[in-house]
Symmetry: D2
Subunit: 252 residues, 4 copies
């Protein structure tokens, strides 16, 4: 297969390297990844400055941009013939629940889908993962199956892998995203010159880890697979919003 | 009402200023906005560096961060008593269809909702709007109605206003997000030192502007209101993904 | 006179504003200053990204670049007829001794000279100055005298003003730059996510504050004026370096 | 010897790598270099954000900062016992004449000297050098001689090497810095969204390439060695500035 690989931890990240080398043994892989850590980049695009593509090794490029920039540039600027799939990861750290919204890893996959390609986002459930091979195995297992995915043109699968040896993983589970409580407050501090600074607060504790959620699956030792979309319309609220607007109009 | 106001065009942007002054005449408004243009920032968070809050005028602060940072900092670091609503805008330029995914304006509203507050994102359908007052009027009309919104804790309304005088606007329409074709390819160029650079390509042309879409409403002279959510689970694909996985497992 | 004004604290800094308004009463002043605080920028130039010039008020522009960028852009991109002088400041905080090397304020003046214009760099000896008017008065006093400066094409005067009311200032002193001890070590810390960070250490204590130095003058209540150059050749070492090289060559 | 190595082209630059490997064969070398290209950084220091040190290989660290940050951090944060010398380079591209003022390569050496260590800055006279080995040889030749340098505590040697094979290089010449004409004007352009941008103009043509200058030496096939200082006082102007000030005072 022709594969475009990216991530948000940067082109040197061990998770990306492990997946890149494993995939390259069997596939034609082009990697376009940020030149540094861009965790938390979400779907941000670099509009004010130009991007620079830097070859780092054969078929490995770094870009001074976001994960979304990398996939945009890789798909529209580099390919002679289009790839079969876009893969983002392996991320160090989970992308579960509503954290997914801020994730550069998932954003890279969304950008792949946005440009018309099926996409996978792959993350390890540990910020210092010791079992990257389990995520590699998961990708190698799923990759040939993607040809049969029912709705390939809308396929974005968000995959989270427990930080366990492959033998201890209990299987795959299809899940919905769980939810966290509100994030922790910003942390007020001072720099050494005595000026006030703030750090963005930590994510909240888990609020909804029901049995069908990604949080629950990973916690139980399963690889979580969540189908993701990029349509932010809240369809279930269309009717009530319409009604609200009409009532208010009449009332006023 | 207590209002937290933000945007992605920066604290000096005319749209923000117009709305800030209009709201301040009747409400208690605190504005926390980026120190420069952060269009395209999406939901990105600044995790690697600290943020600095700079008072610019009474109840007006700039932050060296993204729209999401601003709302996070405003809501968790500044408020004695919590606000009633978060408003983002008035953006110069529309936030319609799948562009919404990259929008810092909409991201600021999503962050408000994420921290538990009803939110509005407000944009003008022109990058050089001549009728900001129409968007101001729309907000002033909707604001008192938000108390009656049926599901306030999930309320994010994405509002796009035609660049027309208030009298020529035909009313409000509740819409779903439309869709664009794939974005234009990255633009290859060289800098004056002869080095290759790329600019992110322009958005694609409109692919789905059906009668119920935001594209259509604004085009027809209506103010478009789209209820937005931040749950990226593609629920309609849960069953088929499950089935796909099982079949493949059996097949293999 | 035609004056190009810049600084390194950003276009909104009170020191710049005070000087801008005072000068504009009698002269034609164009101000091009960084869009944010660029203290410590030294002579750095922005080569990788383009610059954007943003009008902020009549004859006041901000640039997303360094002080050197601003002066370069102001002098080569904006002027119909060339200015008579470049002024940088009023900086909040002193630029004395070897700190001058890191100063964006002084760098802006050096760039003026580099492009062929006499230049002044003006700083208050306090990071939170309460007597900006004293520095304004110093500039207004010196400005007409600059026409008679003996070597105008090489003129860069680094001016530091005590934070005192004008009446308490004892006069002007021409000085050489003093010297500090080595700077304090980098400060090791951790961010809230537990990762190691370092802050650049504070400047060292004063090592050479001899009677003819800028440190001494300001300390004694005088306005210090140091003529500055940008020729980094250490002329007094040319002969001994030559001799060293020859001896070594013969010895080997 | 104990050597701290840095540069401004980034930790991956071929010039740095060539020198690092050659030095490590005989010396104890710690390399601390920027995580990306920081050409043009001059002596700028990162004061607003913290720095992060990232191990890239044994004794090789990247820093998200400027060359000056790297040397500051290397010398004050990393060393158990102090190094004997600081070396910056090998830079791709010359650092000659008044360009030296903007150079991050030279600034890294100046920072070494500023913290009390003798320093070398090494550059190739080509932006795409094919004879890095010549610069490596020059450093290996000079390094043992530095123990006998007459004024070690003030030693900063700016070394520029012609892009020639070692056998074709005619020897070493001790030089002063030459001078360029004013730089080219800023280049006005537009980005693909139709907004005005400016690029910093190219350096000017050579104005002073007298026989004793670095420009001349390199042009003639010699390795240029210029002793550099960081004292920006223009001593030769102290008396005339004093006289100017007194005359004006009496005249007024």
């Amino acid at each position: 297969m022709n594969i475009l690989l990216s991530n948000d931890d940067g082109f040197q990240a061990p998770g990306l390297t492990a997946l890149r080398l494993a995939l390259a043994a069997q596939h034609h892989v082009i990697t376009v990844a940020p030149d540094r850590d861009r965790s938390g980049a979400s779907n941000s695009l670099t509009l004010v400055n130009p991007l620079r593509l830097r070859p780092q090794a054969e078929n490995l490029y770094s870009v001074n941009g976001t994960p979304t920039d990398c996939v945009h540039l890789g798909l529209t600027g580099l390919y002679a013939s289009p790839p079969d799939i876009v893969i983002s990861g392996i991320n160090s750290g989970p992308n579960l629940g509503d954290d997914v919204l801020y994730s550069g890893t998932v954003a890279a996959a969304m950008e792949g889908r946005h440009l018309g390609y099926p996409s996978l986002a792959v993350s390890m459930n540990s910020h210092d993962p010791s079992h990257l091979q389990s995520a590699v195995n998961a990708v190698l297992y799923l990759l040939p199956l993607t040809h049969q995915y029912p709705d390939r043109s809308h396929m974005i699968l968000n995959i989270n892998v427990p930080n366990l040896p492959w033998e201890q993983i209990r299987g795959f589970k299809v899940t919905r995203l769980g939810q966290r409580h509100y994030s922790e407050p910003a942390i007020r501090s001072t720099d050494p010159r005595g000026r006030e600074i703030f750090w963005v607060g930590a994510v909240g504790s888990i609020a909804d880890a029901g049995e069908d959620t990604d949080f629950h699956a990973v916690e139980q030792g399963y690889i979580s697979i969540t189908p993701i979309h990029s349509d932010l319309t809240r369809y279930q609220a269309l009717a009530c919003t319409q009604q609200w607007l009409e009532e208010q109009a009449h009332g006023s």
